[in-house]
């Protein structure tokens, strides 16, 4: 065991930490700040901040230098995930592009795609959306029905996508489209890159149960897309999509841990303000949550070690997802439990504002659904990790 980072990585941490301290306005880290600014203003602040961060060299930490990245180690990437959380840096507005599309482009993109997509994405000049899910195709992606019909050297795309993060703010969307008429399930699909500002693209925000709109529906009506705007080859979309989704495996859980650990402390402070932190029954619940949080941290070290050793994590990423999502949800059940009879109030006492924690609590109901529901993850663990026979 050696849980330290090598000196070069620690130097990176120091450098990053100093930059973050200097560049994140104090107001941004105050409770309620992001809930207070409007959605549009918040987005613009984050977009601009991230661009500046990229120019300062703190984007694409583990991307190769040739693609505009820093060429750092997996350890630096983990440090980045941790430090940005600790500094309460704003969340990225280009997550899906950075986490999924970018590594896929590096792997199977044409030289032109690499040039045109990666740099602008890093600098937030182009915000990317993901267009995979459809109303009838949630966990069962292969049931998709959006169609693209070749007309000259363009595809005419029709269909509907749903659960698209930042649908109303995105510039481009990577989309699964059935380009071979009459094909079924995994066949005849292509991954097309569609301009969100093109004619025929309409977006309707989806309001979440928390009241916030981060997702949207995307309606595609006779949208014309150049055949060259395809990643990974026409008809090869399923394989490209599976490759793309496999990059979720890079996530070690350290970013989640760092964020949830802060939420835990905030929840403890609420308990203290309400005089409930000495209740032996609630202390047991808090203790149980901390057990799972700390396990997530140890697990993230395990994952980082595996990545550094060049091992393929494969289906193990389902373990990471289950651990962080279920732990996160349970943590906010404990939050509710300690509020007692005042659970429904935004301000249970005059000086306690729970708006942000309450939004986070509603958010946790979604994390066991998106990105592969807990049910889907358990099936993956059962079949691919434990080797249980395929059931149904």
């Amino acid at each position: 065991m050696d849980l330290t980072h090598p000196p070069a990585e620690e130097r990176f941490r120091a450098e990053l930490r100093a930059w973050l301290a200097e560049n994140i306005p104090a107001a941004w880290t105050e409770p309620g700040f992001w809930a207070g600014v409007g959605e549009a203003e918040g987005f613009d602040l984050r977009r601009d901040w991230e661009r500046r961060k990229a120019l300062a060299g703190f984007a694409g930490i583990d991307w190769p230098v040739e693609y505009g990245g820093r060429g750092g180690t997996p350890g630096m990437r983990a440090i980045y995930d941790q430090e940005t959380q600790l500094a309460r840096a704003p969340r990225s507005v280009n997550t899906l592009g950075l986490a999924f599309l970018a590594p896929t482009v590096m792997a199977v993109g044409t030289p032109e795609q690499k040039r045109d997509i990666l740099g602008p994405m890093l600098r937030n000049e182009v915000i990317w959306c993901q267009g995979f899910s459809e109303p009838g195709a949630g966990s069962d992606l292969a049931a998709l029905r959006t169609s693209g019909v070749l007309d000259g050297d363009e595809y005419v795309v029709n269909g509907q996508k749903v659960w698209t993060t930042f649908a109303n703010r995105g510039d481009k969307i990577f989309t699964l489209v059935r380009t071979e008429p009459g094909s079924r399930r995994h066949h005849g699909i292509s991954l097309l890159l569609i301009d969100m500002h093109a004619p025929g693209v309409e977006v309707r925000p989806i309001r979440q149960m928390s009241g916030v709109s981060e997702f949207g529906e995307v309606f595609l009506t006779d949208v014309r897309v150049a055949a060259s705007e395809c990643l990974g080859g026409i008809g090869n979309g399923w394989a490209t999509a599976m490759l793309l989704l496999s990059f979720e495996r890079g996530a070690s859980g350290i970013s989640q841990y760092t964020g949830f650990r802060r939420s835990y402390d905030e929840i403890v402070r609420v308990a203290r303000a309400l005089g409930r932190d000495t209740d032996p029954v609630l202390r047991q619940e808090l203790g149980r949550r901390m057990v799972e949080l700390e396990c997530l941290r140890y697990h993230s070290m395990h994952v980082l070690t595996q990545v550094e050793q060049g091992r393929d994590l494969g289906a193990e990423s389902s373990i990471t997802k289950l651990q962080w999502s279920e732990t996160y949800q349970d943590l906010f059940e404990t939050f509710d439990a300690l509020l007692g009879a005042d659970v429904a109030l935004t301000h249970p006492t005059a000086d306690l504002d729970l708006t942000t924690l309450r939004q986070e609590s509603f958010w946790t109901r979604s994390v066991t659904i998106w990105g592969g529901s807990s049910q889907v993850q358990r099936t993956i663990v059962a079949e691919r990790v434990l080797g249980l026979p395929r059931g149904s």
Partner: protein, 369 residues
Amino acid sequence: MFFALTDEQRALAATVRDFLADRFDLTAVRAVFTDPDGDGHPPELWKAIGEQGWLAVCVPARFDGLGLGLLDAQIIARAFGAGVIPGPWLPTVLAGEAVRLAGSADQAAAVLAPLAAGDLVATVALRGPGGGYDHTGIAVRATAGGRLGGVASGVEYLEVAGLVVVAAVGPAGVGLYLLDPRGPGVTVTTQRGFDGTTRLASLSLADAAATRLPASDAAVAADLVRRGALLTAADLVGVARAALTRTVAHDIDRVQFGRPVGSFQALAHHLADLHVAVTMAEHAVLYAAHALDTALPDAELALAVAKSKANQAAGDATAAMIQYHGGIGYTWEHDAHFFYKRAKRQIPAFGDTPAHLERIAVLTVDALP
């Protein structure tokens, strides 16, 4: 042995259900839910509730009530939970119970008839901010002359109520007081919350005039809390059953991987467990209502069992409703969050689970010979 509702009681249940389906469905609920600045008290609904006699259930016949008990009242509470119905029915009924149990003949005459007819919205203010439902949670003090000072939190529909029953600690201990919320020395402040199927406010009292219910004491206050807990448990059982039924219906229809989602065994078994839990909660609320109505020796235990079990069933069923609807269940546009949020609010109301479990321990561990 007849552990069931009578035909009359079943008919009442059907009437409430049909009325709500017809006249106050989820579209009507949505209108109230999504208008947090509104008073959450649709007049046409209230009028109908009064006309139907659903406020008169526990009111004695001599005050134009139906003279029934909690067993009948819980039928209405369950249907209201199942329909996530807004409005001050529950606090009004409870305020009536306080007057019935501890009021003078004059007080009863003045309050109960208009209350039964739907001409009076009333509510109860039983605990201070952050406080529980026993005497330690009360943050209002009373003078011997009935002047109140202090604060109460999370009072339902205070802003439309014409009368408040306030629990206060006076020179002779805990008592219940009738208060005009529009009188001098009374400040009402809206408290924002996430459950759009109710409205909450705090009550600040500074030397406010009130009238004590003469027979009220700590025991009556505790009895009132138990009645509130029973009706809340019934509400939760209604929420839980509706959440489960809607989820089952969705998962029979919803196809993924070429099969109805409800045919996947892990999900089906979880729904089966939820059905067992909701069924047990239904039994428990029925028993506790009867036990309170007929003063069975185990009434207090039965109430604690009913509220604990209803809490669990509703918490689990509404969380499952979101999870097993997939992404759609998490949207504002879908109705799942009405059920989820109402359950969240009601679970700690009139005693959270740890409080009731500790009470059960007192009754079955400490009391064991």
